[in-house]
């Protein structure tokens, strides 16, 4: 298990740094790797889908947990899966669907490890109903700095410090996840094409509780009366009766096609005002209002997974994803944030707006009741200034940024966005008194 010197980046392909990377295959090898950490410390890394630098550790050690790749058991009666932390949600879904079992929380991509899902306490389009990922974790095995393995349940403070704790409490090596039951792998989808942001947000607020999944996409390239025109899509799992005849034969088929892998050939500036405008126009037009359509997993949940490695479109300069939550009652601030982007010309093609339900006990968990918006912004001049203005707007409403997407905020800003961070620091300091768990993000934001 020799470490290999590797330069790592996040999904946004910004801020690379170099670390010694090890790929342990067993929990014992994880413990052995921890012992080899020096003063530059150690962090775990899953599939590298966080946009910024939380799974990088410049000059130190990175434990790649994808070598822990076994699913230990699937209990179809209890609807629980016992899995290694390096297993991806994609793999889990493929294995669980034949049993009519479904992961309650799925983010915008399935290429996320279970360990990463816990470390970021990820959420999905079903947050208003299902909450976030860790709320469905029955127990997890955490290797702490002293090399001990703790089996944590939701009764443990350390469980909640690890949920959304960005890997800084230890290495999650295994977890038991509670699952939902489904009759089919398909969704019954209601799509509404709505021509401005205010109407979009109004419509999204009505009947939210009737849908398990709810999300809207909006166009960030038009200003004026059609600012924020968009597509609202809401869905429930389709029942067997909902399916057309030809799908009924194999209703639990993992129907999630990937059509292509994006080649690594795009120059900087490929995604510009013109191409974004074209994309937005197309995306808006392709989704006329239609209710009750049956869609497969890719079409509804993961339209981006249809193209592998799609981040390459952003070219070598990379991009960042800005995702905030702004509490309900501050809808004007949501609108203002969209205006700011349109005014400054930092176009984004992938703009996702949804409503969060209640948050949970984890001090660093991102979701809280409110509007969450995610936009992908290519890195170019003036972006720092735009983001700083957006930060101020978010702070003024008592909102916050998502650490799994964050890549450029200030330590002071994050400190104010997460008022319970000292509570988290206390738990962390007890379990890692010498601070061996550290990441580029932790250094950059002075989290620990």
């Amino acid at each position: 298990m020799d470490p290999e010197l590797r330069t790592l980046v996040g999904w946004g392909r910004t801020a690379p740094s170099t670390a010694r990377v090890v790929v342990p295959r067993t929990v014992d090898e994880v413990i052995e790797a921890l012992r080899s950490a020096d003063e530059r410390g150690v962090i775990a890394r899953g599939l590298g889908r966080a946009y910024g630098d939380p799974a990088q550790n410049a000059g130190g050690l990175v434990i790649d947990v994808t070598g822990l790749d076994r699913i230990h058991s699937i209990d179809a009666d209890a609807a629980v899966v016992d899995t290694d932390a390096g297993v991806s949600l994609d793999t889990l879904m493929r294995r669980l669907l034949p049993f009519g079992l479904w992961l309650p929380v799925l983010p915008g991509t399935r290429q996320v490890s279970v360990g990463g899902a816990i470390g970021a306490d990820i959420h999905g389009k079903a947050h208003h109903v299902e909450g976030s990922f860790c709320e469905h974790v029955e127990s997890m095995d955490l290797v702490t700095a002293d090399g001990n393995v703790h089996t944590l349940t939701q009764d443990d403070e350390l469980f909640w410090a690890t949920a959304g704790g960005m890997g800084l409490t230890g290495v999650v090596v295994r977890a038991k996840l509670r699952l939902n039951r489904v009759e089919t792998a398909y969704f019954k989808v209601d799509t509404d094409q709505i021509d401005n942001l205010a109407d979009l947000m109004d419509r999204q607020s009505v009947d939210d509780e009737k849908y398990l999944e709810s999300v809207s996409w909006f166009d960030s390239t038009v200003s004026g009366p059609h600012l924020g025109r968009g597509i609202l899509t809401r869905a429930n799992h389709a029942t067997l009766d909902d399916l057309p005849k030809k799908l009924r034969k194999n209703p639990l088929k993992f129907d999630a096609p990937q059509l292509l892998t994006v080649p690594n050939v795009f120059p900087p500036g490929m995604l510009n005002k013109l191409t974004a405008r074209m994309f937005c126009e197309l995306w808006y037009r392709k989704s006329p209002t239609k209710h009750g359509a049956i869609q497969n997993i890719t079409m509804f949940l993961h339209p981006l997974d249809i193209a592998g490695e799609w981040n390459r479109v952003y070219g070598p300069r990379g991009f960042l994803q800005y995702q905030y939550v702004i509490p309900f009652g501050h809808e004007d601030a949501v609108r203002r944030s969209v205006e700011l982007m349109v005014e400054t010309g930092h176009v984004s093609a992938l703009n996702v707006l949804k409503r969060f339900g209640a948050g949970n006990r984890a001090p660093l968990s991102f979701p809280q009741p409110g509007w969450t918006l995610a936009v992908d912004l290519p890195v170019r001049r003036g972006l720092a200034e735009l983001c700083a203005r957006l930060d101020e707007l978010v702070l003024s409403t008592g909102g916050r940024l998502y650490l799994a997407k964050e890549s450029r905020a200030t330590p002071e800003g994050i400190e104010r966005m997460y008022p319970r961070i000292d509570e988290w620091r206390k738990v962390r300091a007890e379990v890692d008194p010498n601070g061996i768990f550290v990441s580029d993000m932790a250094r950059r934001l002075r989290l620990t």
Partner: protein
């Protein structure tokens, strides 16, 4: 860490009163007011004034005594500079131009140029590279010169020191890449600063602030070699190939 939009949190300026270096520091301090800056240079009123100016922009500034002509102290200077934590961007901006006619006729003047511009760049560069290699990230900006590309009659001693400087830092570019460190060799043409005061500006002359803009852009996009202004790349690649009998007769 340098963040996704290219803003560093800490900056070390070797040559703490360099106008180009300070212009870079000011740009970064404006983008991120909590910037931590270390100004390494010979203690002087000018160094203190530079520190005060950056503090006014919100930066946390410390000054660090650094004498380019005392190579034995350089490892210690670098250790001190890194004592407060990682350095995201290091700008190596010390250097002297000197009187060029004296420089090729007076051994002391020539030696001073060689010691500051080349020897010190190496004796600082080695421990600096070692620290950056260990921290696994960061950006090192080395201020070379177009003069190092092809020695001219009018400043060939200066040019020879910059040629050595340029070769050393270009080499570090290769050596440090796999360790996560980007070395950017910057080759400005004529820059109107106190260093060139009283001289007739050459064509395509630049201000310190213009060069600083080029540097900040180069760090953000992790470029390994830039010219200031960019058009100099083309100009120099032509000059490099002009036959010597013609080159020596060119009017500069």
């Amino acid at each position: 860490m340098i963040d996704a939009v290219g803003s560093p949190q800490s900056l070390l300026l070797l040559g703490g009163t360099s106008e180009i270096g300070l212009a870079v520091a000011e740009r970064y301090a404006r983008a991120r007011p909590s910037l931590r800056v270390t100004l390494a240079g010979r203690p002087s009123d000018r160094l203190d004034a530079a520190a005060a100016r950056l503090r006014d922009l919100g930066a946390t500034v410390t000054t660090l005594p650094f004498d380019a002509r005392q190579p034995d102290t350089h490892t210690e200077v670098i250790e001190k500079a890194f004592a407060d934590g990682d350095i995201d961007v290091t700008v190596l901006a010390f250097g002297v131009l000197g009187d060029q006619e004296e420089a090729w006729t007076n051994v002391d003047v020539a030696r001073e140029l060689a010691e500051i511009n080349y020897v010190a760049a190496v004796t600082v560069g080695v421990p600096l590279a070692e620290r950056l290699r260990k921290q696994g990230h960061g950006s090192l900006v080395a201020l070379s010169s177009a003069a190092g590309e092809r020695a001219r009659r009018s400043n060939f001693v200066y040019g020879s020191t910059k040629a050595g400087f340029d070769a050393f830092y270009t080499g570090l570019t290769y050596a440090l890449k796999e360790h996560g460190v980007t070395v950017t060799v910057v080759r400005p043409g004529f820059v109107r600063t106190k260093m060139t005061e009283g001289q007739k500006p050459a064509p395509l002359s630049q201000t310190a602030d213009q060069v600083a803009e080029v540097i900040v852009d180069a760090v953000r996009t992790r470029r390994e070699q830039v010219w200031a202004p960019a058009v100099f790349r083309g100009v120099m690649s032509i000059l490099r190939h002009v036959p010597r009998p013609i080159f020596r007769k060119l009017p500069f």
